[in-house]
């Protein structure tokens, strides 16, 4: 089943007009700042905001197409009859119900009898690791536990499209990494379409296969995160998602990648473990010859690609760690870089941020 949506919604002065397609094989992250229209897209897909323009359809593998919303022909399927599951921002668990009854809610609403609903809800709670929390009220759960109950509640009704609105925003930095890793596992175990809303490129990097970048109600770019980082189509995209994220094992401020390269950072207070290092392309300096200076990170790389689309040049580098560096056109002219050239890249440890995964 795949989804095709042309969403046109006007709220007061704000116009949202986007085209998007979702396929079952991928997790898509919708990235953008507050007010870009991310939540409105989710609400339109869920049927909580009717379209003013456009059309939302889902198609089966055998080619049968169902229209969910089409103002032209006056078709509108209400939220309760759409094949969706939603994990809302702040989770919106019902506080007058236990964790188990929250998960069973959708099943009971569909007329499934009490015992069957309770046993299926228990299966879901167990699957997210909360089989021993059935009787607890949502307000007594931790942020990470509440998120898992919300996920179980959304998945219990067996939806074809899972929508997640900032599922990690309500968590503190200490638990984020662990919850993000769990979420990645649960998302991988779901075989429907998955759309994740976030404002954090790290979430998109860890959880999504493809990103859609939204700005002021329009899609400004879409593609894999590494492609968008290497070829941002606007300054805005470059600032928002155009960041180098490197996977590895962090210990005492040193992140070691799978192929043995080391990235030195000053964030030494994280416990040892799986982590990501983030380096802004603008923080990377390039040299023709091996430099001799203070930066703790120095790598020998090859120029893979040079992107001229913006006022600043993005240089894609192949090396011990894959990097995108951003330099001025003047610097490019001085260095006389061409694809295939050897180049030295340096980054100060103070410019490297690390995030536990």
């Amino acid at each position: 089943m795949s989804l095709r949506a042309e969403i046109g919604v006007t709220v007061g002065e704000f116009d949202l007009d986007v085209d998007l397609t979702l396929d079952p094989g991928e997790v898509v992250a919708l990235l953008g700042p507050n007010g870009a229209g991310k939540t409105t897209i989710l609400r339109a897909l869920a049927g909580l905001v009717p379209l003013d323009r456009g059309r939302i359809t889902v198609s089966d593998p055998d080619g049968e197409t169902v229209v969910l919303d089409d103002p032209m022909t006056d078709v509108f399927v209400p939220p309760e009859r759409r094949p969706i599951g939603v994990v809302f921002q702040d989770y919106l668990l019902f506080d007058h119900l236990s964790a188990l009854d929250n998960v069973a809610f959708g099943l009971r609403a569909r007329g499934i009898d009490r015992h069957m609903a309770a046993s299926r809800a228990l299966d879901w709670l167990t699957r997210v690791g909360l089989g021993d929390r059935t009787g607890q009220r949502p307000r007594t759960l931790s942020g990470g536990q509440a998120q898992r109950v919300a996920l179980a509640r959304a998945l219990a009704t067996d939806p074809r499209l899972l929508l997640l609105d900032e599922p990690l925003a309500a968590l503190d930095a200490g638990t984020r990494g662990e919850v993000r890793r769990d979420l990645r596992r649960h998302l991988a175990g779901f075989d429907g379409m998955r759309l994740l809303i976030t404002h954090d490129p790290v979430d998109a990097y860890v959880l999504a296969d493809r990103v859609i970048v939204l700005e002021a109600g329009r899609i400004v770019q879409t593609g894999s995160l590494s492609h968008v980082t290497a070829h941002p189509r606007s300054r805005y995209v470059a600032e928002l998602v155009g960041i180098n994220l490197i996977d590895g094992h962090l210990d005492a401020g040193v992140l070691t990648t799978a192929n043995g390269a080391e990235v030195v950072s000053i964030d030494a207070d994280h416990p040892p473990g799986h982590a990501h290092a983030a380096i802004s392309p603008g923080a990377i300096a390039l040299y023709r010859f091996r430099p001799d200076g203070s930066p703790r990170n120095t790598w020998r790389c090859a120029v893979a690609d040079i992107d001229h689309q913006l006022d600043r040049i993005r240089v894609v580098l192949d090396g011990p760690v894959p990097l995108v560096a951003e330099i001025t056109p003047q610097a490019l002219a001085t260095l006389e870089l061409r694809p295939g050239d050897e180049v030295w890249a340096t980054v100060k440890a103070t410019e490297v941020r690390t995030y536990p995964a």
Binding site: R43, A46, G47, L48, P78, P79, E80, R81, R82, I84, G85, V86, F88, D90, L92, L93, F94, D95, H96, F105, G106, R108, A109, R110, R139, R153, A154, T157
Partner: protein, 282 residues
């Protein structure tokens, strides 16, 4: 920091300073409490305690008490059944003339109840605008029946429920209802399983306020339903009648009404009257 800027230690008596009222406000507040307490002290002082039991068990009082309890509970139920949907409509649906409808709903709260009774009489009385058809087509005459008592009481009591429930519905975070709908719940299921439990404290408080108002109703009842022992003579009416014939009896009936109302209000306390709203609250 210099020595002169150091805060002076205060005595423990001033420790709770944040919760202390300025003296003039405290005096006025105590006077207000005294103002509410004084009438009851007067009643207790004058009460003929010796004949209390015989008056309470007398047929007139027993019939009035039973009628009052019955009619006020029916009025409460009617207020909930009609008032909750009305509150929902006022809180959620933006229709033209909504403020007019709200004012109309609240009118009987501010109107002298006697005026309400007169209005009911000219509408639902035997010759009234609508009452004449009830009489001609169905043979139903409302005035001077127990039904008239219930109608008069509901007329003055329902606004209390509508007002309370509407406020709670407006404060409710509607995203919880959205969440329920994405889980496959119809509007009616959402209303029963999410909306109603979320406004439960307000609903209970509104229902009790409506019940208390119905129990105390006098003006509209005596105008529209009359004063017939056993069918329309409720406790307030019996009190008024007794005051002209047997003041001691009036005193005792008043004390019974006070005892019933006071114990209900104490039972409610902050638990429901000041309770939180919304599933996310608390």
């Amino acid at each position: 920091m210099t020595a002169s800027a150091r805060p002076t230690p205060v005595t423990t008596g001033r420790r709770a300073g944040r919760d202390r009222l300025p003296l003039p406000a405290l005096v006025l507040a105590v006077l207000a409490v005294a103002f509410f307490a004084a009438p009851f002290l007067g009643l207790l002082w004058r009460a003929p305690w010796g004949s209390t039991w015989s008056v309470i068990t007398s047929e007139v009082v027993q019939r009035a008490l039973w009628l009052s309890v019955r009619t006020s509970l029916i009025s409460m139920v009617l207020s909930v059944v009609f008032g909750v949907p009305l509150a929902w409509m006022l809180a959620r649906i933006d229709f033209p003339g909504r403020s007019l409808v709200r004012a109309l709903t609240m009118l009987s709260m501010v109107l002298p109840p006697v005026v309400g009774g007169v209005a009911l009489f000219f509408s639902f009385g035997r010759r009234g605008l609508f009452g004449q058809y009830l009489d001609q087509w169905f043979g139903i005459t409302l005035p001077f029946t127990t039904s008239a008592v219930v109608i008069a009481q509901t007329f003055v009591a329902m606004p209390f429920l509508v007002l309370t429930v509407e406020a709670a519905l407006r404060q409710l975070d509607r995203r919880f209802e959205d969440a329920a709908r994405t889980l496959g719940a119809s509007r009616w299921y959402v209303f029963r399983r999410v909306t109603l439990p979320s406004i439960r404290p307000a609903l209970i408080a509104g229902a009790v306020l409506a019940w208390a108002r119905a129990l105390g109703e006098f003006g509209a009842t005596i105008t529209f339903a009359g004063n017939f022992p056993g069918t329309t003579q409720t406790m307030p009416l019996a009190t008024y009648l007794a005051l002209e014939t047997n003041p001691d009896e009036a005193l005792i009936i008043s004390l019974v009404l006070i005892a019933v109302s006071f114990s209900v209000l104490i039972g409610l306390r902050e638990r429901w009257l000041g309770g939180g709203t919304g599933p996310g609250a608390g």
